[in-house]
Amino acid sequence: MQRIQTEVLVIGGGATGTGVLRDLAMRGFNALLVEKGDLSTGTTGRYHGLLHSGGRYVVKDPQAARECLQENGILRRIMPHCLEDTGGYFVLTPWDEPGYAEKFVQGCRQARIPMEEVPVHKMLAAEPLLNPQITRCFHVPDAAADSFLASQCNAASAREYGAQYLTYHKVTQLLVHDRRVLGARLLDQVKGEEIEVLADMTVNASGAWVGQVCAMAGLSVTIIPGKGTMLALNQRILHTVVNRCKLPSDGDILVPIHTVTVIGTTDVRVDDPDRFAIEPWEVQLMLAEGEKLVPGFSSLRILRAWAGVRPLFQEYQQGETRDVSRAFVLLDHQSRDGLAGLVSITSGKWTTYRKMAEITVDLVCRQLGVSRSCRTHLEPLPDTRRRVSSGHPQEKRKPARMASLGERLAEIEAHQAYGNLVCECELATIEDVTRAVLEGGAQSIDDIRRQVRLGMGPCQGGFCTYRAAGLLHELHQSPVSVINSALLDFLLERWKGLLPVLWGAQLRQERLDELIYLNLLNADHLPGISPSQFTPEMYESAVAVAPQEYKITGQVPRIVEAEGKQPVGTGSSDLLVIGAGLSGLCAAWQAASRARRVKLLSHGQSSLYFHAGCVDVLGYYPAGSERSLPSPAEGLRRLVYENPGHPYALAGEAAIIESLNSFQALCEQAGYPLIGSLDRNWLLPTALGSLRPTCLAPLTMTTGDAGNKDPLWVVGFAGFRDFYPTWIAANLQAQGFQAAGLTIELPHLRDRKFINSRTLANLFDAGLIQDEINAAIRKLLASSPPLSPSRLAFPAVLGLQHPLRVKSELERLLGLPVFEIPTLPPSIPGMRLAFILEKALRALGGTIHTGLEVTSADVGTDGRLARVWTSSAARSLPHNSGDFVLATGGILGGGFSSNSGAEIHEQVFGLPLDYPAVHQQWFRPQFLSPNGHPVFRVGVQVDRHFQPVDPSDQVLYPNLYAAGAALGGFDPILERSSDGVALVSGCVVGNGI
């Protein structure tokens, strides 16, 4: 067992612990810090980010207020780069006691907090979203603090002074002998090894875990975890901290921090600092409180919820050794418990961490009989922020100024580094991630997140988790199962915080993320996953809910007069299709081919743009199965029998076959054949290296089928961030394939600042890179590689206009068969299918209008739909038609909206939808759950003719039909049936009207 000898052992890597470490190191002590997780995974990493001016305490606890103010000033000097000078407001709302304002003013004066009253109209000019009913406003020097960065800078400074810290090292035992703590035994959670540390003094700075650590020495210290839940909004809606002018209570503060706005918090006693729930009432409470400060708050996009625990120290014996202020707790165990060699420090505010550290180290000095003074308030902290380097090795760090929101963007812009982004939402580059892994000690993707903000933006890891894991594989050379686990762990970690606030735009985002990880990448069927010590524990499920009850919402659209002139609109149609996804396009195409006059209206471009470009008919049945279906036909037979309401059952086998045949004929005619039949699913490699089942695949992909055991090379292009050949190859190898991954540099791409799928596809179409690829590969082939390939795989970018020509050219040049693997959106193969359908529709006389959002519908007194309205510049535009098809795509397509009131609405006709009544029952605890999430089965109920019906099975409108993901009762992404259902229902509708 490894033994480490040091002077002071610090337990706990939060603000206090790292602050203590720095102070110790600066005073010349040999010190070691150990933390069971990553730095700042405790309370420090889970608060709202406020640097107090003291305003919150002036009435209740003036001394605490004064301390905050003093430390506020010191921190602004020593760590300006961790702070943003937002300033703060205290506002008196109609819900606050009017008399408090005067007490507040008095209190500020007494505590000498720089406070200035701001006229309300000026406040509204600066912050237009604040409630105009606010009557008074006071400005104080609050600021926003990045506590992750601060801990990292403290730790870095400590290192500079010769101290050390170990993350993922958990204290399992305190070594006690003769009424003295001699050190601790640790468990290295990554390697699974034990380490012994011997120290003259041990500082227990473990915050909410102080009690647990003390118990290891037989001491009784009661720390009650006080949980506080917070929510982050997707964007900055304010640039000033806003506090309610009242005694501090729940949900009374809004903090703009980095790119989000945080609202906090609650105070609920829990039993265990590691296990607690985020309860729906807490979320609703904060939404309600938020409404008081910002009207309309609850309809803004909420990114995430999280909770941390405050350590509340419970006194139980007299004569505690405490320091002056009640604001934090310093326990000298020698005098309190007769146990030497241990001090504990806990509670307090983040704002006063440095003072807490100072007082703690002062005590350590006294105990060790030395006299050394604190200098942590005098020397600025190093700046360890992510930086875009311009390539000059000696680049000096500019003297630190206070941080600003835009500086990261400004830096990316100045260096034109936008092509290097791994996390696009939060502008984290490859360089940032690499540094975090190689220098910052990041073990998991969550660790990377804490250092570079990866995954903290709107897509919550949708795109960057894949890229980060791919990078991790390149950097770490770990077994692929470890990387697979890292991917899944981070997705789960993000899911953990999303669950309590998943509705509206964020729910739509999650469904896209599900499409990516399930449908495109098949991440739930990875070949191997290592048990991981980084797998997050989910929040406890809150209050047990009764068995699922469903509710139905739906409204009747406005009935319109029958008499009088009816607006004709921009040309009538026989059939009006709403939605340009696969189902809408198919319905329109089939109807047009039967000489109907078809008009297709779509809010935006087709969802085919982010599907894989194949036709998945049925990949897994039952939905959560381990093994994919060898043939769709087999699964269909069972499905139709067991699930008679499923669109496939309604359509019938004959219609399914006919639809697939028609579509294959169309693609064949367009020179882009889709190969396959219901008798057999292809198993095609994904951009993760797992195998995804699909029924019809283009010729450009079929050589990749799992039935083909020929050795292969997976080839990526340097600078293209959405494809990781070595990881793909490693996962394929784990499934028994002979595969190798490599990245080639193309001269054509060398000077480009920004490469994406479309860039590459255009280059292929123009014939500009085939020769370069050939040259690079032939060179590698000639160099006696360990694996000689019989086929080559590329990312699915082999041309938008001429994919088959590109494929043949490559095969001719390289002398080897070639295939493509779909990767992150935008999907080039998906776009090809969209072009084919659009062209066919237009050739048959149909019209397509992209950018026209259907907002409402009119019904005539005869009960038939008369027209829909689209939003136009300065007005609404009517579109009359005989028949209508709703193909708006459900939650992902935007056809259904959802809100914080746990309601889901069909946006155009207000059709009835049924779904679990309680928000918590919308989801299962795991992101990639084998049974999927109940909410995604929501949809429109239809009869055999695909006409929407009411709960008593009556057809709602004689001239309305529905197709695609708008249909309910099944989960198309989970079953891998999304394309098939869209195709079949669309064709049946288009043929049947």
Partner: protein, 439 residues
């Protein structure tokens, strides 16, 4: 009992956001699907613009009114609005970008010389008022290659960019010399825009005659530049003055229920939507003027629905390529131009599949953006060339100049075709070309 409309006011117990929110808030709708990136014509041809998703909703989270602009690359957004049309979630990307550019201007991030240049090319009315009276000379100078090369070097105005020629007489001068012709079918106000006024008065003549042919009386009140070139260049203060002035001139007609029509799709979009949204102008007068502003074809089709349109068109058995400008699609009217022209018997339109001609207002006139603009327009130019037609139709003036510049083919506004089909003489060269062409 109305249907829930839009995404900012969902139904149920949730409070909707109380006022028209600044367009930046639509960034909440972005789910990073990359559809905008895959459709952006500018990022397809240059690395200087990283795409709509990056520049709009993504960068938007790093912008705040209390700090200086962090932007640079957003200046390469051409403002074509294709991104808005293809976004399935309702993010107003083009507007977010336009406002970010205005912040760049405000914060001095556009070099002074370029800002001066932007103002020169953006103040079309001022330029026109000054240079049109000098028209043989001004035309000479603007097409004199050495002068253009000098302008390119000194002022960064692209030497090859297609400057139109000043007309001999301003449209409004011609109009005010005409006898007033009251119509039994009602009155309309014609907002002509700078191009018709200074460069292509025959388009205005065509509009007047065509409207009169349906019994309408045309009023041409005092009016100024709509300000779109200023908006596109981030000169919001000046644009606001222009828009306020136009609202003042037009609001009385709007109050009387007299529709305001225009043939320049960009001008009309500005009055309908762009100025109010970009400048946060939501007062009653601005809204009233917007609600009474119509695109020419939009209005003609409404007349037709009401049975008041003169449909006495001669057959035009021609097959003519037609490009719907990207600014026109931004009106979100479907294809009103095409539908209107389908009333002309025998006429077949070959619809342009291309997204954008590239010029994007003043964008393609700038030296640093000229070649980007020409590359953006290449698919359109190829389409036009391969159609083997002697002319092309397009509603936007700058598009017409760009298309002609790139393909040497004359381009006309559909109203000129309508005038021809009615047999009206308006002095448009389209007459000559069509009479010379066999089908």
């Amino acid at each position: 009992m109305t249907i829930p409309v839009g995404k900012t006011s969902p139904p149920g117990p949730v409070n909707p956001l109380p006022r028209p929110l600044p367009v930046e808030f639509t960034l909440d709708q972005c789910i990073k699907c990359n559809i905008c990136l895959s459709s952006c014509p500018v990022s397809a041809v240059t690395d200087l613009f990283p795409g709509p998703k990056y520049a709009g909703p993504q960068a938007g989270r790093f912008r705040t009114s209390s700090q200086a602009s962090p932007d640079l690359s957003v200046d390469y957004c051409s403002g074509c609005r294709v991104c808005n049309m293809v976004c399935p979630h309702g993010v107003k990307i083009a507007e977010i970008n336009a406002r970010a550019r205005a912040r760049m201007v405000e914060d001095g991030k556009i070099p002074l010389l370029l800002r001066f240049r932007n103002n020169l090319v953006a103040r079309s009315a001022s330029l026109g008022r000054f240079a049109q009276p000098l028209h043989p000379l001004s035309n000479f100078i603007f097409s004199f290659t050495p002068a253009r090369i000098l302008a390119d070097r000194l002022l960064h105005i692209a030497a090859q960019a297609p400057f139109p020629r000043f007309a001999g007489q301003r449209f409004s001068s011609w109009f005010h010399r005409q006898p007033r012709r009251p119509g039994e079918n009602g009155q309309v106000v014609y907002f002509h825009g700078c191009a018709t006024e200074f460069y292509e008065p025959w388009i205005g003549k065509a509009v007047v005659r065509v409207l009169e042919a349906s019994g309408l009386e045309v009023i041409v009140p005092d009016q100024g530049c709509c300000g779109l070139p200023l908006l596109s260049n981030g000169e919001f203060k000046a644009a606001r003055r222009y828009h306020l002035s136009n609202v003042r001139h037009l609001v009385d007609y709007a109050r009387q229920g007299i529709p305001i029509l225009g043939t320049s799709t960009s001008c009309i979009l500005t009055l309908k939507e762009e100025a109010p949204e970009l400048l946060d102008m939501h007062d009653q007068d601005t809204r009233l003027v917007a609600s009474m502003t119509f695109d020419f074809s939009e209005f003609m089709l409404q007349l037709h629905e009401q049975g008041r349109l003169n449909t006495d068109f001669s057959p035009l058995p021609h097959s003519i390529p037609y490009h719907e400008p990207c600014q026109y699609r931004a009106h979100r009217l479907g294809n009103p131009g095409r539908v209107l022209m389908s009333l002309i018997p025998g006429l077949q339109l070959l619809m342009s599949p291309a997204a954008c001609c590239g010029i994007a207002g003043t964008y393609g006139f700038k030296s640093e953006k000229y070649s980007i603009a020409m590359q953006v327009g290449e698919p359109l130019f190829n389409f036009v060339r391969s159609s083997k037609s002697p002319l092309i139709l397009c509603e936007s003036e700058t598009c017409r100049w760009q298309i002609t510049h790139a393909t040497a083919l004359p381009a006309f506004h559909p109203v000129e075709l309508l005038a021809y089909a009615y047999g009206l003489k308006v002095g448009s060269p389209i007459q000559q070309i069509l009479t010379n062409t066999k089908k």
